[in-house]
Symmetry: C5
Amino acid sequence: MAKYIKKKSHKVGLPPGTLKTVSDKTRKVKLEVINYNQDFLHEKTVNNPYDCRPDNFVNSIAWINIDGIHDVKLIQEIGEYYNLHPLLMEDISSPGQRPKLDDYDDYIFTVLNMLQYDEKKREVKAEQISFVLGENYVLSFQEDPTDIFNPNRERIRGGKGKTRKSGPDYLMYSLIDTIVDNYYIILEKIGDQIEELENKIITNPGPNWLKDIYSLKRELIGLRKTVWPLRELISKLERDEHKFIKPETQVFYKDVYDHTIQVIDTIESFRDILSGLLDVYLSQTSNKMNSIMKILTVISTIFIPLTFITGIYGMNFHNMPELRWENGYYMVLALCGFIFVAMIVFFKTKKWL
Amino acid sequence: MAKYIKKKSHKVGLPPGTLKTVSDKTRKVKLEVINYNQDFLHEKTVNNPYDCRPDNFVNSIAWINIDGIHDVKLIQEIGEYYNLHPLLMEDISSPGQRPKLDDYDDYIFTVLNMLQYDEKKREVKAEQISFVLGENYVLSFQEDPTDIFNPNRERIRGGKGKTRKSGPDYLMYSLIDTIVDNYYIILEKIGDQIEELENKIITNPGPNWLKDIYSLKRELIGLRKTVWPLRELISKLERDEHKFIKPETQVFYKDVYDHTIQVIDTIESFRDILSGLLDVYLSQTSNKMNSIMKILTVISTIFIPLTFITGIYGMNFHNMPELRWENGYYMVLALCGFIFVAMIVFFKTKKWL
Amino acid sequence: MAKYIKKKSHKVGLPPGTLKTVSDKTRKVKLEVINYNQDFLHEKTVNNPYDCRPDNFVNSIAWINIDGIHDVKLIQEIGEYYNLHPLLMEDISSPGQRPKLDDYDDYIFTVLNMLQYDEKKREVKAEQISFVLGENYVLSFQEDPTDIFNPNRERIRGGKGKTRKSGPDYLMYSLIDTIVDNYYIILEKIGDQIEELENKIITNPGPNWLKDIYSLKRELIGLRKTVWPLRELISKLERDEHKFIKPETQVFYKDVYDHTIQVIDTIESFRDILSGLLDVYLSQTSNKMNSIMKILTVISTIFIPLTFITGIYGMNFHNMPELRWENGYYMVLALCGFIFVAMIVFFKTKKWL
Amino acid sequence: MAKYIKKKSHKVGLPPGTLKTVSDKTRKVKLEVINYNQDFLHEKTVNNPYDCRPDNFVNSIAWINIDGIHDVKLIQEIGEYYNLHPLLMEDISSPGQRPKLDDYDDYIFTVLNMLQYDEKKREVKAEQISFVLGENYVLSFQEDPTDIFNPNRERIRGGKGKTRKSGPDYLMYSLIDTIVDNYYIILEKIGDQIEELENKIITNPGPNWLKDIYSLKRELIGLRKTVWPLRELISKLERDEHKFIKPETQVFYKDVYDHTIQVIDTIESFRDILSGLLDVYLSQTSNKMNSIMKILTVISTIFIPLTFITGIYGMNFHNMPELRWENGYYMVLALCGFIFVAMIVFFKTKKWL
Amino acid sequence: MAKYIKKKSHKVGLPPGTLKTVSDKTRKVKLEVINYNQDFLHEKTVNNPYDCRPDNFVNSIAWINIDGIHDVKLIQEIGEYYNLHPLLMEDISSPGQRPKLDDYDDYIFTVLNMLQYDEKKREVKAEQISFVLGENYVLSFQEDPTDIFNPNRERIRGGKGKTRKSGPDYLMYSLIDTIVDNYYIILEKIGDQIEELENKIITNPGPNWLKDIYSLKRELIGLRKTVWPLRELISKLERDEHKFIKPETQVFYKDVYDHTIQVIDTIESFRDILSGLLDVYLSQTSNKMNSIMKILTVISTIFIPLTFITGIYGMNFHNMPELRWENGYYMVLALCGFIFVAMIVFFKTKKWL
């Protein structure tokens, strides 16, 4: 059942706030530190969480990206340096959280889902990503290393663009923006599949399209479950006052918010379209049934009476005068021919042929 | 998949606020400047954005209409003269935005969709139009030149009406009013198609109406996606306090608002009517099936037993006394006749004939 | 398409606030003036709007009823005497407005729909009626003269009742109350039709009831579109503070409000009931199909095997010993009889007979 | 149409606030007065409204129960003693009001529906009951005498319980609580019917269950229309400040509120369950059709080809060598047997048998 | 009908606040007292409510767990010691309450449902649990002893974790957290069943899956009825100010709140998925019907005309020249063969074979 809800049950019974390895992975965790301000940029990959302590990054901005949330001890150590709340650390290391924002005194905590489209399985995969935004740092936690932030890295390296000149609030915005932009790709893939399906169903109503409709529907149900809380989350970032988000950055969050709304609108439209497609599909099936029945009915209603007539003259009564008529046989043939033509005409007027 | 969502994915990876050519068009951009106040009116088409600088229009109102949002450099240049926010300029030049209103300090920015009905393809086409309303100017951006503002131009030229006497807030109102009025035309077209379909379905349930229902439904889904955010947008214009919208103009925005609500009501009613039509269609199909089955059943149940009787007397047993009866043949014919009539009577009482 | 949306498109392109003749009628407009206070009552029908000027009615209450909103010039003239806003006058003379309330400084403007049931066509007809409530007057505008306000007139003439003692706010209340009471009549008619249909469908599932369900559904969609905004309108009258509505009158508006809510409740219930009726209808159709299929199946499965048996003994092989048996024929008849009875028993146990 | 909406139309045309006999009953009205405080209790049935004047009950609490709202004159007289608003009196004597609460200066007015289950007709019947709660009295108005308040009477007589010690606000609470408790009985009855239906449908899908589903659905639609406004009403009693309801009594109203919510939850669940049952029913019907078709198909596809074979050897051609073969007949029989078995095996593999 | 609503009707007629034995159980009630602070821990099982008096637990925290709410006298006695409101005590001892929170002056009262999955019956069972949170105590009431709080007991005993260091508000949080965590287990079970059903339906559309869909749907309806009010309840704990809940504990309640929302999301998704599964199931059934019809039609339309041909040459006319042709028989066989092949080809092109 891992498809629907992330296994949470095996944590039942543990005190709240307990970190427990959820992933079975034993891969080495990757700690990537990007430390910059307008003037300099240091990029390194470290092994020891000790190198990520906040006091390394005075007067500059640090983006610490942790790939591998299964290493509970490491998360705990980082948590101690940054004074993270136990519940927060529990959320970071338990995938399957609902997207949400928690505003603590010293930082803002957000959990999101990063979506990726698996071309082979034609499936959407979600990975949880958590951000902690502090005075001069952004921590990002996820399980698997991903490439989708490469453009963000490039922009920081390039030194152009607003990121280098702005604070960590802008950095977090640009990361979330990248994630939400990725949702568009997913939607396009799904949109392509819907269009493909539409063509298939309209040209050739095969028996299998329904399963495709169903699996697309299920994918949209999943997406929806991810995007609705995201909307709420970003709305909080955009509207409420936060200690670490400058008003001039909020206009950017508003932009992401608009994108999220558009994603939601599109999901809802897709659902509507799918339900319309379902109607088309069902009606095609029923039309096909109709045309099958028509053929059966036409053939049966023409030949069953004719067969009855031949049956009559196949009887063996001694006294059947017609049998001795010179043209009896031809008259019966003519009668059959007449009935045949009459039936055809009847069906033509009924528009069945 | 361009039908459902505007290609946005190819912009993924660019820094936010980056302008990128979305349209492939290389057509020359048209810059149309209408500069007026109560006393004078200057109309010209210019090539150089430099001629659109705000300081050309002191003590008068300027409406600058830019056809061709693909010319990013030009948009940028205008953006600089008018001090436009980068995100705003990105929105202007990326079609497919969700209708929205952003209130900046120096101007109000709105994005809308202009709808046009393509008579040939029987399809609704949307084009994005953006307005920037400043202290004494309105900038309007769209891709293709359009005629729908001609009446507005005429009214300005005529010098009568309120436009010449009022500020740019009234000018923007009258442009939006024109756009929303155009929605009524679309709705009427769709309404006509629904009525046509209704007649077709009730008089002759063919197999293809469902596709028509489906495509109308999809059109309404699209419309809805456009009009709901529009409602929100205009509601903000009408209700909130804006630096550049005078209270006496807001009563006009309230009027557009009422129209938008009416458009939404009509869309929702159309959806309801379509779903009712779908029921009628499906039930027609199923009634047709019923009548096919009835004919098959009537013919089969009459003639199958009769054929059995002839089969009996077609057997070749040596000892079959009936065969030698003088009137055996006529009695069988009479029996068949009787069964035939009895069946007909039976079906009559069942009201199948 | 006039059934769904009132033609509004031909006004597209006119400056907002332009009055244009919408109706093609050239009928003479009827101006009916009822001027009263607690002590006197003047009733007259005038031709000249000049006689309706507000300064005729100092220290008394005037109800001016204008039948014929197509006479734009006349409306304009009255509008000037009463200082009506151009947008308001546009609304008065363009039927098909959404019910709404606009609160101007010098008067309250409301647009409503008056419903009437056309017994012949079994259709609900809507007519727009607008009220302008000022300090000491009520203006009412509609196209066709109507009788439904006769009881109100009688009550004013009678001098009893609250109307003569109260202000124009009470007068407008009593007019709106009359209109809303009329909605009950419509609902009763529709309710009667639903009940009739219910009986028809349950006793005899004919093919045509679906069209009746559909047309009732469409009528309810139309009603709903009219009543929902009405609710909002009256809620504003009842709750908000208005210059011309006394608090002691608001309790009466609250009463109309309750009635409107009840109308809405009933409409929603009717929609639910109709959708239940649709299920019953569809299921009836499908049950009928089932019973047709049963008969076909019973007859076919009994006689097709029997016919096969007779076919066997109708073959012309030279060496068929059974044919020479003395009782062969009778044994075959007995076999057929046995199969027949066995099949009947089988179908009885299956409860098909 | 009395089933859906109470006849209100015949009152159209009367001035608002006019009392008119709605019921046709001429039964004598019963006036029951229970006057008590902590120390004494007087119970009597009076004929003359004069004996119900409020000044009879100084320093004590009076519950006056009027059975028979058709006696308009009497209602009017009581109304005068208690200074009741004309609209309120109109509501009392017109059954079919929407449950509501009106807060006047001198009293609180509530209208509710009392539900009773008619075991014979298996129908829910509603009766309107109105309460007027004043400083030291509760008036209750309904048409037919009812027993459901007997326990309340007993408790007052018993002198134990909170009623005798508390004010009229507690008395009204205990009456409303009795009414809402009665709703549970109705729900149980409906729940029993649903369960019964469920068993019937699952064990034996007969053609009539749909009508039962439909009538249950209609009953729930009716209940819902009654209970939703009740929720609002009680919520006002529980939350708002009222002159005559003490804060310590409001906790009791909160309890009734919780019950009302639970009633609503249950109604909504029942609706969901019914719609699920409908799906089961429809699918059963369609499965039955499938099994009928299977039998028809199995029999037909087995015997129609066999009959063809016998037909071949029933032909009368002079030159048919097989006919003269010694074992021709047996070979044909064997062929038929083989085809028969092959078909059976084919259907077995298709899982149709 | 006990499945849908808990029997409440037999309490109708009792004064509100009356405790009455609802359960028929006569089992001895278990009183379990856990008294602790940071320094000590006393655990005992007592028989006499007297040992549970609050003055036993000064300067420490007490968790008193009462298993057996049917012992009304005992509940009453405890209620007196802790000064519980009569309505509250009524709620405690009447199972079937809607989850809710009541904030009294001296304590907070909450009612919840504890869910357990009965593996055998594949059914969800609910048990009511009530908490009373006072200054230094938590009372928990339920009918049957349960193991699910064992981990909480262990944690208190262990002395590690936050519980020992925190107040009763944290204790109640940890109990509610345990209950909500248990909901995940239920959801997983249901999720497993849905997935199982999905596989069954897609691979083999048998006639019984619908009942499974229906019973899952009913289970979700029940869950929903339990979880929606729970959400409200916890939201109040998390957001409002309560005398006995410290702000630093509220962050924990917020965590439970997030879990509740996630439970709701999952329930809604399951409902959507089930309705999709229903569509798949119905369409499978209808596809199966289609394939049955196809076979019937193919066989019938091939052999019925052929049988007619053999019927012709089985007639006994004296003058039928073909019968005397040398190759007449073979020509008929060839004709039949040709028709057979032509039909097969026809059905191939129709894609029916």
